[in-house]
Structures are given as C-alpha cells and as structure tokens.
C-alpha cells in the first residue's frame, strides 16, 4: 500500500515536473516515467493486459514518437 502511495506521489511530481521543464526532452522523459509508473499501477490493480500495453505503447513507442517529433522541431520551450 505504502509502496503504491509513494509511486503515485512520484508520478504526480513527475507530471508536474514535465509541465515545468523548459527542455522538452526532459519533459518527454518525465512523461515516459509517468507512463511506466502507470503501468506498474495497472499491475497492482490486477490488470496485466493493460499494464503490458501501457508499458509497450505508452512508455516505449510514445516516447520514441515524441523524441522524433522534437528532433524535427525544436528542443527548448521558448
């Protein structure tokens, strides 16, 4: 229980951090971390299918797509 609470706390912190980072790559990494924690939470909530999907799609591919997009545009929020 405490473990989950800590995870949720970290997740919220990461999400807030993602909104504050000026470097978009950092923001995206924070976003990926949020996804990863979500995936773990899904596992705790007895949803292994969803956890797998979130890990593969949310944390993996989404991040890749974000990073490609940032490479094509600009890295720093102005």
């Amino acid at each position: 229980m405490i473990f989950q609470l800590i995870l949720i706390f970290i997740m919220i912190i990461l999400a807030v951090a993602a909104s504050l980072f000026k470097d978009l790559i950092n923001a995206v990494v924070a976003c990926a971390a949020v996804s990863l924690i979500t995936s773990i939470l899904f596992y705790f909530l007895q949803a292994p299918d969803v956890a797998m999907a979130e890990a593969a799609i949310g944390a993996g591919l989404t991040t890749a797509v974000f990073i490609i997009a940032i490479r094509k545009t600009e890295r720093y929020e102005k």
Partner: protein
C-alpha cells in the same frame, strides 16, 4: 489512513487529468500541449481501471487452476482501457505529425504566435 488508500488512485487519475488540462490551458508550446493531452489520457485510463478493481481479487485470467469466477476483477474496464490506449497513441502520433507540419510552416511552436486563422 484507509481514506487515503481509498482515494489515492482517484487522486492519481484526477491529478493527472487536471495537470494535463492545466498544461493545455496555460502552456504555449505545442509539444507541451500534446504531452498534456497524453496525461489526460493516462489519467482516464487509471480512472477506468480503478473503477473495475475489486479489492482482494485477481486478474480475470483462468489459465491457472483454482481461480473461482467469484474472485476476479471486472474485465470490461480493462478491455476499454486497451482500446483507449491504442486510440490515445493514434491521436498522439497524428497530433505530432501535424505539429511537425505546423512547425515547418511557422518556424515556431508557440501557439500565441500561430494565429494565422482568427475571427
């Protein structure tokens, strides 16, 4: 203390949704806004899953013997979330491609400067 345990997942999902909305409302960078949309999606997914969760039960997979049907969580939200995740990534990919195009045309990602269409 049990109050926090009952509410922590709701706080997680609601918090993610609200942070996402805040990003959409306030941040001017397009990629940030897309990140915000992604947060909203994630928040809703958590919401759906914890709606289906029943304390003390296991995943609805009967591959091992000894799992009684009365002892599993709701499978429907999990199915819905699978769908929602895929839809989310689809929207996200499309959004980023459009963002790339917008950047090519405007040379900026700042939405306050992309105002070719107004009134």
């Amino acid at each position: 203390m049990s109050g926090i345990y009952n509410w922590m997942y709701y706080i997680a999902s609601g918090g993610l949704i609200l942070i996402g909305l805040y990003i959409v409302l306030v941040k001017t960078n397009l990629i940030k806004i897309v990140i915000g949309l992604n947060f909203i999606d994630t928040g809703i997914n958590i919401l759906l899953i914890c709606i289906g969760y029943v304390r003390g039960r296991t995943a609805p997979i009967f591959s091992r013997p000894g799992i009684s049907p009365a002892n599993v969580v709701d499978p429907v939200p999990q199915a819905l979330v699978l769908t929602a995740i895929v839809i989310g990534v689809a929207v996200l990919a499309l959004a980023l491609s459009i963002v790339i195009k917008v950047y090519q045309h405007n040379k900026t990602l700042n939405v306050t400067k992309i105002k070719g269409l107004k009134w």
